[in-house]
C-alpha cells in the first residue's frame, strides 16, 4: 500500500523531461528546415488553445486517445501487451455504425446507448479473440494483436466498398448515422461532443476498477506474477479473458466516439492511428487514470495545433509524429534506465537525481 500511494518524483520527472527534450528536438528539426520554430510553436498554441474552437478541437482529439490509452493500460496491468487498440477501435466503429444506421424510430435515449454498447462489444470481442488465442493456444498477444489490426482495417475497407456502402455508391462510406444515435455537441462553436463525458467516465471506471475492486486487485497480481497468482487460487486465464474484453471494449468506444461524434458515418481508415498513439498516451501518463487524462489532452493539443502549425508556419503536420515518436522513446528509455541502473548512464542520472535511497526496486 505505501509503495502505491507514495508519489515518486523520479517517475513523474521522466515524462516531463521527455516532453521537453522532444520539443527542443522538434524545434531543432523545424529550424533545420529553414523555418522559424517560434512561429511554429506560436501557431501550435493558437491551434491548440487559441479560441473556443481550438480548445474544443484539442478535447475532440483527446477523447479517442483516452479510450485507446485505457485499452493499453487495462491490458498492461494484467501483464498483457495490447498493440491491437487500432483494430479494436475499428471493430467498435463497425458495430456502432451497424446499430447507428438502423433502428429508425428509436428514441435517442435508447438508440445512442445501444450504439455505444455495440461499439464496446465489437471492440471487446476483438480483444477477446486475442485473450482466447493466448490462454487456449499460448499464442503471443503482441503478434496476434498486430495481425488482427490489419484484418480489422481490411474488413472495414471491404464493408464500406461493399455491403455497407451508401447508395448511390460513389464514395467508399456507409450510410449516415441516424440523428438519434449521434453523440450531441456539448460546446457550441466547436466540434466537442458527449464522447468526452464518456471518456471521463471510463477514466473513473479504470481508477475504481484497479483501486477498489477485488477483480482489479487480482488482475494486478496476475500482471505481476501469473504463476504466483494461480498458486494463490486466482484464475489468471479467466481474468485475462475478462481484461482483454474490457481493454478491447474501451478501444471500441474510441471507434464509437469518432463515428457517432465526428464523422457521422463510417469511412475507410477513419482512425488516423489513434490506436498506436494511445500507447504513447498510456506510457506518458504512467498508466494512471489522472496521468492518462492529462497526456491525452497533451497529445490532443499536439494534433489539433499541428494543423494550424502547417497552415500558418508551413511546418508539415507530420512533425507532430516525430515529436510523438521521440516522446515514447525518451519515456521508455528513461524508465528502463531508472529501473535497470546502468553503470555509465547511471552516473549521468545521478547528477540530476535527488539523493534518494536506493530501495533496489525492479518493476
Amino acid at each position: 500500500m505505501p509503495a502505491d500511494t507514495k508519489i515518486d518524483i523520479k517517475k513523474i520527472a521522466i515524462p516531463i523531461f521527455s516532453v521537453l527534450v522532444s520539443f527542443i528536438l522538434g524545434g531543432i528539426i523545424i529550424k533545420m528546415m529553414g523555418l522559424s520554430p517560434s512561429t511554429a510553436f506560436k501557431a501550435l498554441m493558437q491551434g491548440g488553445i487559441g479560441n473556443i474552437n481550438a480548445l474544443g478541437e484539442t478535447f475532440v482529439k483527446a477523447t479517442p486517445l483516452v479510450f485507446t490509452a485505457l485499452s493499453y493500460a487495462f491490458a498492461y496491468k494484467a501483464g498483457l501487451i495490447n498493440i491491437g487498440a487500432e483494430g479494436q477501435l475499428y471493430m467498435g466503429g463497425f458495430l456502432a455504425t451497424l446499430v447507428g444506421t438502423n433502428f429508425q424510430g428509436l428514441p435517442m435515449y435508447i438508440h445512442l446507448p445501444l450504439a455505444i454498447i455495440a461499439a464496446f462489444i465489437g471492440g471487446g470481442l476483438w480483444g477477446l479473440v486475442v485473450a482466447w488465442l493466448k490462454v487456449r493456444f499460448n499464442a503471443n498477444e503482441i503478434i496476434t494483436t498486430v495481425m488482427l489490426n490489419y484484418i480489422a482495417m481490411n474488413w472495414i475497407s471491404y464493408l464500406v466498398t461493399g455491403p455497407m456502402k451508401a447508395p448511390p455508391g460513389n464514395y467508399p462510406q456507409s450510410k449516415d448515422i441516424l440523428s438519434t444515435a449521434l453523440l450531441p455537441n456539448i460546446l457550441p462553436g466547436s466540434r466537442l461532443h458527449l464522447g468526452l463525458l464518456l471518456a471521463v467516465l471510463m477514466l473513473i471506471f479504470y481508477y475504481i476498477f484497479f483501486k477498489k475492486t477485488k477483480t482489479g486487485y487480482e488482475t494486478r497480481i496476475v500482471g505481476r506474477n501469473r504463476k504466483a497468482a494461480d498458486y494463490a487460487g486466482m484464475k489468471s486465464k479467466k481474468l485475462s479473458l475478462l481484461i482483454m474484453f474490457i481493454a478491447g471494449g474501451v478501444a471500441g468506444l474510441a471507434g464509437a466516439s469518432e463515428i457517432l461524434g465526428i464523422q457521422g458515418r463510417m469511412i475507410e481508415g477513419f482512425s488516423p492511428g489513434y490506436g498506436f498513439d494511445g500507447i504513447a498516451v498510456a506510457l506518458l501518463g504512467l498508466n494512471s487514470s489522472f496521468g492518462i487524462g492529462l497526456s491525452a489532452i497533451f497529445f490532443g493539443f499536439l494534433r489539433s495545433g499541428g494543423n494550424m502549425m502547417q497552415m500558418l508556419a508551413q511546418v508539415p503536420v507530420s512533425v507532430i509524429s516525430i515529436i510523438t515518436g521521440l516522446v515514447i522513446i525518451f519515456v521508455i528509455a528513461g524508465q528502463a534506465i531508472s529501473n535497470n541502473r546502468i553503470a555509465g548512464l547511471q552516473k549521468i542520472i545521478d547528477l540530476f537525481k535527488r539523493s534518494e535511497p536506493n530501495n533496489g526496486k525492479h518493476s
Binding site: 499464442a139 490489419y150 492511428g273 507530420s318 516525430i322 522513446i329 521508455i332 535497470n340 546502468i342
Partner: protein
C-alpha cells in the same frame, strides 16, 4: 488455355517482385529474431529505407547508390534501436512502435521539404532487369526465374546464404544460442550484447534495402506511407516460415502472391473484394501461432532483455 497460362505466368512474375521486399525484410528479421530480438519497428525501418533509397538514387542519379544509402540508413536506425533495447534495456515492442511513428513523421516531413508538397514526384533511376542468357529462353519458367529485376536475384541468393550461416557456421550457432539461452551462451564465452547489436544492425540494413526496393524497384518514386504494412507481413512471414530462411521464402512468395493478385484486381477496377486476400497472411500467421497449422518454435528468449549478472 494459352491465355490462362499467360495470366498465371504474369502473376507469378509479379509475385517474385512483390515478394522481394517481404523476403528482404523477413531475412533481416530472422537474424534479429534468432538472437532474441522482436523488432516491430521493421515497418518503420522499411519506410525510412524506401525514402532514403529513392532520395539516394535521385541525388547520385544511380539506383545502386540509392540502395547503398538505404542500407546504411537502415543500419543506423537498427543501431539506434539496438542501443535502446540492448544497452538501455527499453521494452522492445514499445520501442518498435515508437520507431514506426517516428518513421512516418520523418519520411513525410523530409519528403515534403526535399521534394515539395504539390509537385509530382521526380522520376528517379530504378532497378533494371537482368535477363540470363539461354536460361531466360526456357519456356514458362525462363521468363519467370531468369528475367527478373536484379534485386530479386540478390534477395533469393540471401536465402541459401542465410541458411548456411545459421546451420553450418559457428556465427549462426552463436546467434541461435543467444536467442535461445542467452545466459548459457554468455557462460560459454559468447558476447551476447555484441551478437545482438550486429544482428540488429545487419537485419535492419536488409529491412532498409527491402523498403528501398519498393521505391526504386516496384515503383520509381517515394510515396508517403508506401510500405503499408509490408513490415508486419514480413514479421508474419518469419513466424509462418518458422524462423527458417526457406520457410520465409515460401511464406514471402505465398503472401506476395496475394499482393500481386490484389494489385491486379484493383487495377482492373473489379468488384472482387480484394481485402480478403490482404487478410490471408495475417490469418495464416495467427493460425500458425496458435499451432493450428504446423508447429512454430520461436526462439526461447524472444523480446527479453539480457541482464548480465555481475
Amino acid at each position: 488455355m494459352e491465355n490462362i497460362l499467360n495470366l498465371i505466368q504474369n502473376l507469378l512474375i509479379a509475385d517474385f517482385r512483390t515478394a522481394t521486399p517481404i523476403l528482404l525484410a523477413g531475412i533481416g528479421l530472422i537474424y534479429m529474431y534468432r538472437a532474441g530480438i522482436v523488432n516491430i519497428g521493421v515497418e518503420g525501418t522499411m519506410l525510412i529505407g524506401a525514402f532514403a533509397g529513392s532520395y539516394g538514387a535521385y541525388i547520385f542519379n544511380n539506383v545502386w547508390m540509392g540502395i547503398l544509402v538505404a542500407g546504411i540508413v537502415g543500419g543506423i536506425v537498427g543501431a539506434i534501436f539496438a542501443f535502446l533495447i540492448i544497452t538501455i534495456k527499453a521494452d522492445q515492442i514499445v520501442t518498435g512502435v515508437a520507431i514506426n511513428i517516428l518513421a512516418i513523421g520523418l519520411t513525410t516531413t523530409l519528403n515534403r521539404i526535399l521534394f515539395g508538397v504539390n509537385t509530382s514526384p521526380p522520376e528517379i533511376p530504378s532497378i533494371g532487369k537482368i535477363s540470363l542468357p539461354y536460361l531466360s529462353e526456357i519456356p514458362f519458367i525462363g521468363r519467370l526465374l531468369f528475367n527478373q529485376l536484379s534485386m530479386v536475384y540478390l534477395a533469393l541468393l540471401l536465402v541459401p546464404i542465410t541458411y548456411y550461416i545459421f546451420y553450418k557456421t559457428t556465427i549462426g550457432l552463436k546467434i541461435r544460442a543467444v536467442g535461445d539461452h542467452p545466459k548459457a551462451a554468455d557462460t560459454a564465452g559468447v558476447n551476447v550484447f555484441k551478437v545482438r547489436y550486429w544482428t540488429t544492425i545487419f537485419g535492419s540494413m536488409l529491412a532498409g534495402i527491402g523498403g528501398a526496393f519498393l521505391s526504386t524497384g516496384i515503383l520509381s518514386f517515394f510515396t508517403e506511407d508506401m510500405v503499408a504494412g509490408r513490415g508486419f507481413i514480413a514479421l508474419a512471414a518469419v513466424i509462418f516460415g518458422n524462423w527458417n530462411p526457406w520457410g520465409v521464402l515460401g511464406a514471402s512468395l505465398l503472401f506476395g502472391f496475394g499482393d500481386a493478385i490484389q494489385i491486379r484486381i484493383q487495377a482492373m477496377g473489379s468488384n472482387i473484394p480484394y481485402q480478403f486476400l490482404i487478410m490471408v497472411p495475417y490469418l495464416l500467421t495467427i493460425t500458425a501461432l496458435a499451432g493450428l497449422v504446423g508447429k512454430v518454435n520461436p526462439p526461447k528468449a524472444s523480446a527479453e532483455p539480457y541482464i548480465k549478472e555481475e
